[in-house]
């Protein structure tokens, strides 16, 4: 592998700008240039509680208007008296190089080219994109896009995109080769209260590519886990080199599209990229410690647990449940994925029984079935005792809803237990929906991941075990 030292690019102008110009800011509600400006000055087009307006100066650039959305407009970025850190470009493709030259002259720190009409269009577009690449290379100014959605950085109150809204703040970075997918993920994240440190859509990557963002998030303090949706890679060797380095610091979870013949055809007409055989990508991911997700849901499921919980330092998991069925399912999934369910020692059972709160029919084995009428006190004894045992490395807690079940109080028991045993992961499966919602929110607010299906909980636990083993090996 080539051992070229590649300097990490400074992307502060992109993720943490002090001022922003929108070139192609528009008064037309249905245009992209309108949405971008609106996103900046109010946080979102579709309002929600996570949307926050950008706090620094915003400069619309539009030669035909004096004011756009009530903000003073400029005929050219060169007309702005003060410094501009970030230039967002949303003008017809043909004049993008011209606008870029002006941005270079203005000495902006970063550019985002939202405009489409480049490599994805074939021959003509490729030529135009080459111009974009050349300007970026010569000026050394980082350029995102073209043909991208932009970036959203909730920590900087920055929605530099035409995504309809801003997701909650969190510790997961999402790098997406598809802008539209990012849009939908944001909408979902608002509903699920799923937090992101950043969302990046990198489009045609005339300059900045997925590796630059991997490197950036590898160092980014707000990011604990990196997720990527990827169609094709330009330079596989460099990707592997960077991924291997970043994997040692933070988990990377990848979802690869274009695994089948049809999928690949859709890609080449879509982003103009070449998709290698999925098996080769799988090998590359495996060799660099990247966790492979099969679908969108799985990627964010795993990311949540890796961001919230400590790694699992062994392969021995205990299951606590107030119902037989889901516990048996969880046990099946554990065995199928190579997780060991240790037998509970006599001394453990003695401690549990001494509490005097157990039902006489409780299971006395792993999975520990507390029986359907379990109140929070039973959960407390079971969870605390199991976590205190050296031979238990992590815990899966299952709750089904019965007349006496108290989801919120059970959640408090689990939250307290995690404080007492912060080095052992806990993953919950509150099965249900409407009446368990408040308990789930409480858990997740305290960084205890919850899944509605034991299979997902087991998979998440597996990712904590494998991540620990990976780091140990390295």
């Amino acid at each position: 592998m080539p051992n070229k030292k590649i300097k990490i690019r400074n992307l502060e102008g992109l993720f943490n700008p002090k001022s922003v110009a929108v070139i192609g800011a528009s008064r037309d509600h249905n245009s992209v240039g309108y949405g971008i400006l609106r996103n900046l000055n109010s946080g979102c087009v579709f309002q929600c509680k996570y949307c926050k307006p950008f706090l620094g100066p915003i400069y619309p650039v539009n030669p035909y208007a004096e004011k756009v959305q009530g903000i003073k407009s400029y005929a050219s970025i060169l007309g702005v008296e003060d410094d501009v850190d970030l230039a967002i470009i949303s003008v017809p493709a043909k004049i993008v190089p011209l606008v870029m030259e002006e941005c270079v002259e203005k000495k902006v720190k970063a550019m985002i080219i939202i405009s489409a009409g480049f490599a994805e269009l074939g021959e003509e577009g490729i030529k135009l994109q080459d111009k974009v690449s050349d300007i970026a290379k010569k000026s050394k100014i980082p350029v995102l896009g073209p043909n991208c959605l932009g970036i959203i950085r909730p920590y900087s109150n920055l929605n530099a995109s035409f995504a309809p809204a801003m997701p909650p703040q969190g510790n997961i970075a999402f790098i997406s080769q598809s802008g539209a997918l990012a849009d939908s993920i944001i909408d979902w994240a608002i509903e699920a209260r799923y937090g992101f440190s950043s969302v990046v859509s990198y489009g045609n990557r005339a300059d900045l590519d997925v590796v630059d963002f991997l490197e950036y998030f590898g160092e980014d303090e707000e990011t604990r886990v990196i997720t990527i949706y990827i169609e094709g890679i330009k330079n596989g060797k460099r990707f592997m080199q960077v991924a291997e380095k970043v994997s040692k610091k933070k988990p990377i979870i990848a979802l690869k599209a274009g695994r089948t013949k049809h999928g690949r055809e859709a890609i080449s007409t879509h982003t103009g990229s070449l998709a290698g055989s999925y098996k080769i990508y799988k090998a590359a991911f495996k060799q660099t410690g990247i966790i492979l997700a099969d679908n969108v849901e799985e990627m964010f499921d795993i990311a949540k647990t890796l961001a919230y919980q400590p790694l699992c330092k062994g392969n021995n998991i205990a299951i606590v449940s107030n119902a037989g069925g889901p516990a048996v399912l969880a046990a099946d999934y554990c065995e199928q994925s190579g997780i060991n369910l240790p037998e509970l020692k006599k001394s453990t059972l003695n401690k549990i029984e001494k509490s005097g709160v157990m039902h006489k029919a409780y299971s006395r084995r792993n999975p520990l079935d507390l029986v359907g009428d379990a109140l929070p006190e039973r959960y407390k004894v079971a969870v605390d005792t199991l976590l205190s045992e050296k031979y238990v490395d992590g815990l899966i807690v299952i709750q089904t809803l019965q007349t006496m079940t108290d989801p919120e109080e059970d959640a408090n028991v689990i939250i307290e237990a995690q404080k007492k045993y912060p080095d052992k992961p806990i993953i919950c499966t509150y099965m249900g929906g409407h009446f368990t919602k408040s308990g789930i929110r409480l858990l997740e607010k305290n960084y205890i991941p919850d899944y509605n299906d034991p299979k997902k909980a087991v998979m998440a636990m597996k990712s904590l075990i494998e991540r620990f083993q990976y780091l140990k090996k390295k």
Partner: protein, 216 residues
């Protein structure tokens, strides 16, 4: 245009790089046949080599388990006759005669990927690769540990550990071939594809039986 290099060149290259090819002689004319065969131990296999014929078994130009000179001469004549029957103006590069070895058939290969460079492949022969797609890949460089990992990763790995009273196969020798394949691909960028199919492994050794190398 990339093309498969001649069997003669491929054999030479593999010997130079110390790949464990089964004892093989390329015969160019009938009069040298018996003399050359003396270098080998019966039973031997005979295969006609021609770039015009891709599927050897379809053209009936492979003869196995030849036990003596007489059978060998007949096989030689039949091979040429069958090749000409298969294609009128067939170009014959020569005749390969090889010792025979028994054991488990596996496949080791390499393909240069546009994005990732040399990708090394390991799989079990026959139906395992065709029907079950039980193969593993690694991107070069593939070192010993990684090579062993790719072998162990396969569902059919247990076969190599010895099942139903069979002896354990010499996996180390396979590891060695995988590693050398990776090395060859890294050092010679003109090689686009390598195909060792089959490699036969038993409790004593692993031997490459058929080999093809695609070059730019």
């Amino acid at each position: 245009m990339p093309g498969w290099i001649s069997q003669e060149k491929a054999l030479g290259l593999m010997k130079k790089k110390r790949f464990p090819v089964i004892k093989t002689v390329l015969v160019k004319s009938e009069k040298n046949l018996i003399k050359n065969a003396k270098k080998l131990k019966f039973p031997i296999a005979l295969k006609l080599v021609s770039s015009d014929i891709i599927h050897k078994s379809e053209a009936n130009i492979i003869f196995l388990d030849i036990k003596n000179d007489e059978q060998l001469e007949k096989a030689y004549k039949d091979a040429i006759k069958n090749a000409k029957k298969y294609k009128k103006k067939v170009k014959i590069e020569g005749i390969l005669i090889q010792e025979m070895v028994s054991g488990q058939e596996v496949i080791i290969g390499m393909k240069r990927d546009e994005q990732f460079g040399p990708v090394v492949m390991f799989g079990f022969g026959g139906i395992f690769v065709e029907v079950l797609k039980d193969v593993s890949f690694r991107i070069a460089p593939v070192e010993r540990d990684m090579a062993l990992e790719m072998i162990k990763e396969l569902k059919a790995y247990k076969i190599l550990e010895g099942i139903r009273g069979q002896k354990k196969s010499k996996v180390e020798d396979l590891v060695d071939i995988i590693r050398k394949t990776s090395l060859l691909a890294e050092n010679d960028k003109k090689i686009k594809e390598i195909d060792f199919n089959p490699v036969i492994v038993n409790d004593k050794e692993a031997k490459i039986v058929d080999f093809r190398i695609l070059k730019d």
